[in-house]
C-alpha cells in the first residue's frame, strides 16, 4: 500500500449559511517529515480503523450520489481542484458544535489493481506548547491545534478498482456516532458523506432479535436463558443507538456463555461486528412475548416488556411462586405450546 497524493483543507462551520465560503486548500508534498509519516500511518491503517460499513444514498430513481460523483472525479484525476468540492461539502455540512477542522484527503495504491482514498478530519482545539531549550522552559498558548481527537475523530475510506458502477460502499470511523445531539451524530455519515450504514436499522435489529430467539431455544441452561430473556425485555428501553450485536451483549454485561449463545446464532459470523442503529419497535415485532414454563407444566406468557408486571415472582429457596391478577378476557385450549 503506498500513499501518492495528500490534499489538505482548512474548513469552517458554514452549515445553513447560504453564501459559499472560500476553502483554503493545498497539496502536501510527500517527504520523510513527521506529518507525512503520521498521514501514511492513517492511510495504511484506514482499512482496519474504519470499521463501520456505509453505503452512499442514491438520489431517487437514478443511480447517483453527489459525493460519490465527486469522489470518482477525484480518483480519476487527482488534483487540489477536484478535491475542493469535497472540502466545500464538508464545510457546508459543519455546524457550530463541530467547529473548525483540518481535512486531509489522501489517495494511493492498495494492492495491484485498487486505488484507496482516505478522508480524515482533525477538529481544531486550543493547546499549550512547552519547549525545553537547555535550562530554559518556554510555555506558549496555541489557538489552532488540530488533533486526532479520541472523542471526535472522523475518517472514511473507499477502495476503487477503476471499473464502472462501483464505489457505492465504503467504511468510516466516527467517534461521535452516538452523540446526544442528532446534528453531531449525523454530521459525518449522513450530512457530509450522504451515506447510511450498510445495514438498515430494521435488518440489523431483526438479525439481533432472531439470534437471541434462536439462542434461547438452543440453550438448556436456565441461567443463560434468564440472561437472554432479561436482555430482550430491557431492550425496549434502548434508544435509537448505533451498535453491533457484540456491543448489545456487552452493554448488558452478559456472561460469556450467554454472549457465545447469541454469537453462535449469527450467520454469517462476521455480522456480529456489523454496525446498525437499534430500532426498539422492530425488536418488539420479533420478540413480542416472553414465556416461562414451570416443572409443574404451568406455562406463563405475556408481552416481553410487561412480563414482570403481569407475573410477580416470589422466590422460596429453589421454587418460585408467580402471582398474576386481572380480569379474565379469554380462554383457550391449544394442541401445542
Amino acid at each position: 500500500m503506498s500513499m501518492e497524493k495528500i490534499y489538505s483543507f482548512l474548513t469552517y462551520p458554514r452549515k445553513n449559511q447560504p453564501d459559499e465560503a472560500i476553502v483554503s486548500g493545498t497539496q502536501i508534498p510527500l517527504d520523510n517529515g513527521k506529518l507525512c509519516k503520521m498521514l501514511t500511518a492513517i492511510f495504511s491503517g484506514a482499512g482496519k480503523d474504519c470499521n463501520v460499513p456505509v453505503m452512499f444514498v442514491s438520489d431517487g430513481e437514478k443511480q447517483a450520489n453527489a459525493v460519490r460523483t465527486e469522489l470518482l472525479a477525484l480518483l480519476q484525476n487527482p488534483s487540489v481542484a477536484l478535491a475542493t468540492p469535497l472540502a466545500k461539502r464538508l464545510q457546508a455540512s459543519t455546524g457550530g458544535a463541530s467547529g473548525m477542522g483540518l481535512l486531509f484527503i489522501c489517495t494511493g495504491k492498495d494492492g495491484e489493481n485498487d486505488t484507496r482514498v482516505v478522508i480524515s478530519r482533525f477538529p481544531a482545539d486550543e493547546g499549550i506548547v512547552a519547549e525545553k531549550q537547555s535550562e530554559k522552559l518556554t510555555v506558549s498558548f496555541v489557538e489552532q491545534v488540530f488533533l486526532k481527537s479520541a472523542y471526535s475523530y472522523k475518517a472514511a475510506t473507499y477502495l476503487w478498482d477503476g471499473k464502472p458502477n462501483q464505489l457505492w460502499k465504503g467504511h468510516v470511523v466516527d467517534k461521535q456516532i452516538n452523540h446526544g445531539s442528532k446534528s453531531v451524530a449525523d454530521y459525518w455519515i449522513v450530512d457530509f458523506l450522504r451515506s447510511e450504514f450498510s445495514t438498515t436499522s430494521a435488518q440489523g435489529t431483526k438479525r439481533l432479535a432472531k439470534a437471541i430467539k434462536d439462542a434461547v431455544q438452543a440453550t438448556s441452561d436456565v441461567a443463560t436463558k434468564t440472561q437472554l430473556t432479561s436482555a430482550a425485555q430491557l431492550a425496549s428501553n434502548i434508544p435509537n443507538k448505533a451498535m453491533t450485536i457484540s456491543d448489545f451483549c456487552d452493554s448488558f454485561h452478559m456472561s460469556e456463555a450467554a454472549k457465545q449463545a447469541i454469537i453462535a446464532k449469527v450467520n454469517p459470523p462476521r455480522l456480529v461486528h456489523e454496525k446498525f442503529r437499534f430500532d426498539a419497535a422492530e425488536f418488539s415485532r420479533h420478540l413480542a412475548y416472553k414465556q416461562i414454563e414451570l416443572d409443574t407444566g404451568a406455562v406463563m406468557t405475556a408481552p416481553a416488556e410487561k412480563f414482570d408486571e403481569c407475573f410477580k415472582p416470589d422466590r422460596h429457596k429453589d421454587k418460585v411462586i408467580f402471582v398474576a391478577s386481572g380480569h379474565i378476557v379469554d380462554e383457550k385450549l391449544k394442541s401445542s405450546r
Binding site: P53, M55, F56, S58, E61, K62, Q63, K163, P164, N165, Q166, W168, K169, E196, S198, T199, T200, S201, A202, Q203, K206, R207, N267, P268, P269, R270, L271, E274
Partner: protein
C-alpha cells in the same frame, strides 16, 4: 476476453456463486416479508448463462459494446420477484423493501405514452444483503447488487407470456400482433384497476 471465455467464466460463477446465492436470497426476502398479506410468491434466480451472454454482447447505437465490464455493469445477475395480489400490495411490499434493504435505484416501469399499454411494475436495484454472503465468499466475484421486481399477479402473467412470445418470432411482429399484445396488456392493466378498486371498496385496508 473472448465470447467463449466470457461464457465459460459466467458458467463457473453461475454454478459456484450465483445459483446458491439466489437460493439464499429467496429465503432472506421471504423472511423479511413475513407477515405481509397477499404475497402470492417470492422467487429468486441467477441469470442463465445464455441470457447473460446475450446481454453482455449487446451493442449501443455507435456499435460499441454496451457493457465493457459485464460482470460489474449487469446488475441483474441475480434477480428476485415478489408477486402480490393487488396494486396496493405493491406499495406495502415496497415499504418493507426500503426498511430491510439498501437501494441504489427504485422506479415504476410504465409505458412511455399515455395511450400505450405494456409492462407495469416496480423495479429496484438493491445491495446484496451481507446475510446471504458467506464469510469465505470470493468478494471479487460476488455481485454487489441484485434486481428486485415487485408486481401484481396480472402483470406477472402478462409479462411472462409476452417474454415467451418475444423469443419465438423469426421475423418482426405484424401490426395486428402488436395490437393483440397491447390488448392483453390493457386487459391486465384493467383487471388490476378493478381489483384495486374492489379491494378498497370491500374494506380490507390491511
Amino acid at each position: 476476453m473472448t465470447d467463449n471465455a466470457l461464457l465459460l467464466e459466467y458458467r463457473a460463477r453461475h454454478a459456484s456463486i450465483l445459483a446458491p446465492l439466489a437460493g439464499k436470497l429467496q429465503a432472506h426476502i421471504q423472511e423479511a416479508l413475513t407477515g405481509i398479506p397477499r404475497i402470492d410468491r417470492v422467487s429468486a434466480r441467477a441469470k442463465s448463462p445464455e441470457r447473460f451472454l446475450a446481454k453482455a454482447l449487446k451493442r449501443g447505437d455507435d456499435g460499441a459494446l454496451k457493457y465493457e465490464h459485464p460482470f460489474e455493469q449487469i446488475q441483474d445477475l441475480v434477480g428476485a420477484r415478489v408477486i402480490v395480489f393487488y396494486r396496493q400490495d405493491v406499495d406495502t411490499v415496497s415499504n418493507a423493501v426500503d426498511r430491510y434493504f439498501r437501494r441504489i435505484e427504485g422506479k415504476d416501469l410504465v409505458p412511455d405514452a399515455l395511450n400505450q399499454f405494456g409492462y407495469v411494475g416496480r423495479h429496484f436495484i438493491l445491495a446484496l444483503p451481507e446475510d446471504v454472503v458467506d464469510d469465505e465468499a470470493d468478494n471479487s466475484k460476488t455481485p454487489q447488487f441484485f434486481e428486485l421486481q415487485v408486481k401484481t399477479l396480472f402483470q406477472h402473467a402478462w409479462s411472462e407470456a409476452e417474454h415467451d412470445l418475444a423469443y419465438k418470432p423469426s421475423e418482426p411482429l405484424s401490426t395486428l400482433q402488436h395490437r393483440q399484445i397491447a390488448f392483453t396488456a390493457a386487459q391486465a392493466w384493467g383487471a388490476d384497476q378493478i381489483f384495486e378498486q374492489l379491494h378498497s371498496e370491500l374494506g380490507s385496508t390491511q
